[in-house]
Structures are given as C-alpha cells and as structure tokens.
C-alpha cells in the first residue's frame, strides 16, 4: 500500500481525532465502538497488558501493516494461537500475547500475562530449568530488551498524546481567534492573515459567510426602505433581483466550502446555535420557510396559492428523498465499518480487509459533498420558483420576512449565549 494511503488510513484508525462537531455520525448508529475519537480511551486501553495496544497508538501515523511483524521481531517466542484483533472492542478482553513466556510448556491461558507477569518473565529463571534450551543470560537480556522496548513505546505514546491534545488546543484557539476577528476585535497575527485564513477551509468559509451576512443586511435594508417608501415596481425589481443574486453567491461559497470541508458545513458550526437547531443538510429547510411565509404574503390569488402550495409539497418531497438518501449513506457506512472485524484466517487477510473497508468508507464519505450540493440546489431552486410565482412586491415582502426570521434566530442565539447562569 502506498505511503500516502497508509497515512490516510492511519488517520482513519481509532486514535484519529474527529472534529467535535462531527454531528452527523456522532450517534449510537455508528459503530462507535470501533472508532474512538478520544485519546483518553487509548489511555484506558493501555491498561491491558499487551504492547499491542501501545504499539498501535504509537504508530498510528505510520504504516498499519506490519504491526504484527513488529511484535514478532520484538519478542522471542510467540504463543501459538493468539487472536488478531483490530477492533478496539476486543482490547478489553483477551489481548494477543505479546509478553513472552519462555516456558514452552505453559498453555495459552497462562501466556495471557498481565503487567505483573511481565516482571515475572525477568524472574523466569526458575522456569528456565525446566526448559534448558535458553540460558539465563540470554533470558535476562531478552527480558530487559522487552522492558526497554515497552518503556520506549510508552514514552512515544505519551508524546503522541501530548501532541494530540496540543493540536486540539491549537484548533480551539484558532477558532476563538477567528471568531474574535469576526467581531471586529483587532488582533495582530504572527503570519499573514490572508494566508492563515486561506489555509483552513472552515475558517475561510466562516469569514466569507460573515462578509456575506454584512452585505445581506445592507441589501435587505435597501429593500426595506424601498418597500416602506412605496417605491415603484421597476425600482423594487432591481433590488429584489440583487438580493436573489446575492443568495446565489452564498450557495456558490457553500459549494466551494463543501469541497474543502464538508463536515464543517454539515455541523452548522458556521451558524448560530438557534439556527443550528433547525439545520437540515447544512442549511435551512425550504418547505418550512414556505410554511412561515404563506400567512405573511396574503392576499394571494388562487393561482398563487396553488403555486405556493405545490412548491411547498415539491420541496418537502425533495427534502424527504434527500434525507432518505443520507440515511442510506449512514447505514451503508456503518455496515462497512462494522463487518469482518474479527478475522479468522491469517493476519495479512485481515489487514487487507481493514484497508479495503477503510477505502470503501472513504468513498462513501466522499458522496456527502453531493448531498450538500443537492440540498443547496433545492434551496436555491425553491427561492427562484417562489420569486416566479409572486409579484415583485410580494417577493420583496417575502425576502424581508425570510431575513427577519433568521435575524431573530440569530438574536435569540445571542441572548441565549449571554444568559445569566447560576
């Protein structure tokens, strides 16, 4: 397997830290057992006697393949029938025997040694008498080697854990910083600001979205002025068109962002908390929006009522279809990650399975972008169709109503975040 693939696969193995707002799959549905995003979980795993677990975490960024071989080279004699386990769920129980008892007579059970027994290996001189094929000096040396190797792996693991938590802290700080910047607080940065923004798809989008919102506010105010001053249809149409074109712009920005970081969009972290409540496939639900509008748009002609009603139904149907596709995707992904975690045959077969599973899972994750794109397409088409059905003045009022609704949700979020707590 190529190095790059190894790295990617390495990134996907259990120790990989998934972003905390990975809400889509953060449910009991996913085979959460196998993939633990929490480093601390590895810490508890470490309590198992085997260096297998330690070795895994220590080499998480490197090759996954020769894991077993690494164990073999470290150790002298391997207990005859240990289980190959890739799933962490197996960690807690019978772990592969990597602590070597030089006593060939001992059966498999006693070879499942715990840490205490590791020390006993050093003092295995007594059992050596019964074996006799390896002398004491060699045994002691081997035991010391094992001990040194184990300590080295522990140190490496601790270091990697430190790195992981530092990385998380760094990401959090970056997000805080970016949020603060958005609010207009001037913060001098070490590097070039635009470069820092461009490098991170999520942050870049957040900034673009903030700018879009500002421009949206400006356009809406213009529209409101026009409506309140009873401006002529021609004038209103220009402003309405510019608002719609501006909506096209956010969908274009989201499309780019979906390529860079689809999970950021899906998480809704770029929206305020109250808006996130209503999140559907990375945005608002057109059908819900139309329901809100109908009452505010009266009077409507018979034809318009039918048109809006049909539009509501169509968008609802499309939303349902996309939702079901997403569910199918989740299910498929779960199945991919949960099949064949226990291999019966040799190690190479299992590793190949694992790699194959990951490759398939990667493919499925790639289709998420398509779903976000179609959801946004649906939103865009719904807005356009609504505009077609309504008169210019009605469209203007509709756009004002939509904006006011989301503004209130955002205001609600601010109030919520600022609420006094015990």
């Amino acid at each position: 397997m190529r190095r790059k693939q190894q790295k990617e696969c390495g990134a996907l193995i259990p120790n990989f830290k998934l972003p905390t707002h990975y809400a889509v799959f953060n449910s009991a549905k996913a085979s959460g057992q196998a993939v633990s995003p929490d480093c601390n979980h590895i810490g508890t795993l470490d309590k198992t006697p085997t260096s297998f677990a330690i070795n895994r975490s220590a080499t998480q960024v490197e090759s996954r393949l020769p894991l077993e071989k690494v164990q073999q080279t470290n150790l002298v004699s391997i207990s005859s029938g240990y289980t190959e386990n890739w799933g962490e769920s197996n960690m807690a129980d019978a772990s592969p025997k990597t602590d070597i008892s030089t006593d060939a007579d001992t059966d498999e059970k006693s070879q499942r040694s715990d840490r205490g027994k590791l020390n006993a290996v050093v003092a295995s001189d007594s059992s050596d008498r019964s074996k006799g094929s390896l002398d004491q000096k060699t045994l002691r040396r081997l035991a010391q080697n094992r001990e040194a190797a184990r300590k080295s792996r522990l140190r490496k693991k601790a270091y990697v854990q430190q790195l992981e938590s530092s990385r998380l802290k760094l990401t959090q700080l970056e997000q805080e910083l970016q949020r603060a910047r958005q609010q207009g607080i001037f913060i001098s940065s070490a590097g070039d600001q635009s470069h820092a923004m461009g490098g991170n798809g999520a942050m870049a989008f957040d900034v673009e979205y903030a700018r879009w919102l500002e421009e949206q506010n400006r356009l809406i105010n213009e529209l409101r002025t026009g409506v309140n001053s009873h401006a002529g249809d021609a004038e209103l149409r220009i402003i309405v068109d510019s608002v719609l074109v501006h909506y096209d712009e956010i969908f274009r920005l989201k499309s780019n962002a979906a390529k860079a970081d689809v999970f950021h969009l899906l998480s809704g972290m770029w929206k305020t908390p109250a808006e996130r409540c209503f999140l559907w496939l990375g945005g608002f639900r057109s059908s819900e929006l139309l329901k809100l509008l109908v009452s505010q748009l009266e009077p409507l002609t018979e034809q318009q009522l039918v048109g809006i009603s049909n539009l509501q139904q169509s968008s609802q149907q499309a939303e349902d279809a996309l939702s079901q596709g997403m569910e199918a995707l989740q299910q498929s992904l779960s199945e991919t990650l949960s099949t064949g975690s226990l291999g019966s045959s040799g190690s190479s077969g299992n590793v190949a399975n694992y790699m194959g599973q990951m490759a398939m899972a990667m493919g499925k994750l790639g289709t998420l972008e398509g779903f976000i794109r179609q959801a946004d397409n649906l939103r865009q088409q719904t807005l356009q169709q609504m505009h077609r059905i309504l008169t210019t003045r009605q469209s203007a009022r509709a756009l004002l109503a939509i904006h006011d609704y989301f503004s209130r949700l955002r205001a609600l979020s601010s109030l919520w975040l600022a609420r006094p707590r015990e």
Partner: protein, 102 residues
C-alpha cells in the same frame, strides 16, 4: 450507447444507477413518492456497465449516475431532476409520458 437508448425506451421512466450510490437511492425515492415505478438499471451489475457509464457521461451526465430518462428522453442527473421537480416540470413530464396519472 445503443444499450442505454434501448433500455431507456422500454419504459416511461428509466433510471440508471449503481447499487452503492446513495444519491441514486434519493432519486429513486422521489420517483416512488410521485407514484412512478421507474425501471432501475444498476450499471455495476450489468456486463456492459462500463460502456453504458461512458455513454451516459457522453450525454453530459455528471456524475454518471443517477441518470434519468423519461419517455425515452434524457432528463439529467440528480441536480436536473430536483430543479425540474421544484418548478413542477418533472410531474408534468411524467404525466405526459404516462408514467403517472395525476
């Protein structure tokens, strides 16, 4: 291409899919929701699947699946289908092709 055209003409609504494609699942769901029973052809289970996929791409279908045909005519991919559904055209096309009745 011939096989694509041939299959597309056999039923009022025809959708070319792949068994692993979840967007195809969405579009199928939409058709069922509308009361249509489209013919489904899974390219990954068809011996000439590769050629068919190539032909669909040649028609401008990107991604190649799902590819929707109504009344033997190529309608488009998921994006086109959703857009047509929103403005009401999809339903009318299905009625005209006698895939649905109302």
């Amino acid at each position: 291409m011939d096989r694509v055209r041939d299959l597309a003409s056999k039923k009022a609504a025809v959708i070319f899919t792949k068994s692993s494609c979840c967007m195809c699942y969405s579009i199928k769901t939409l058709f069922y929701e509308l009361g249509a029973s489209p013919a489904i052809h899974e390219l990954d289970h068809d011996p000439s699947g590769r050629d068919m996929e190539w032909a669909l791409r040649g028609l401008g279908c990107d991604p190649s699946v799902p590819a929707v045909f109504i009344g033997g005519r190529f309608v488009g991919s998921a994006k086109d289908v959703i857009s047509l559904h929103v403005d009401g055209s999809l339903k009318q096309m299905l009625i005209d092709a006698k895939a649905i009745w109302f």
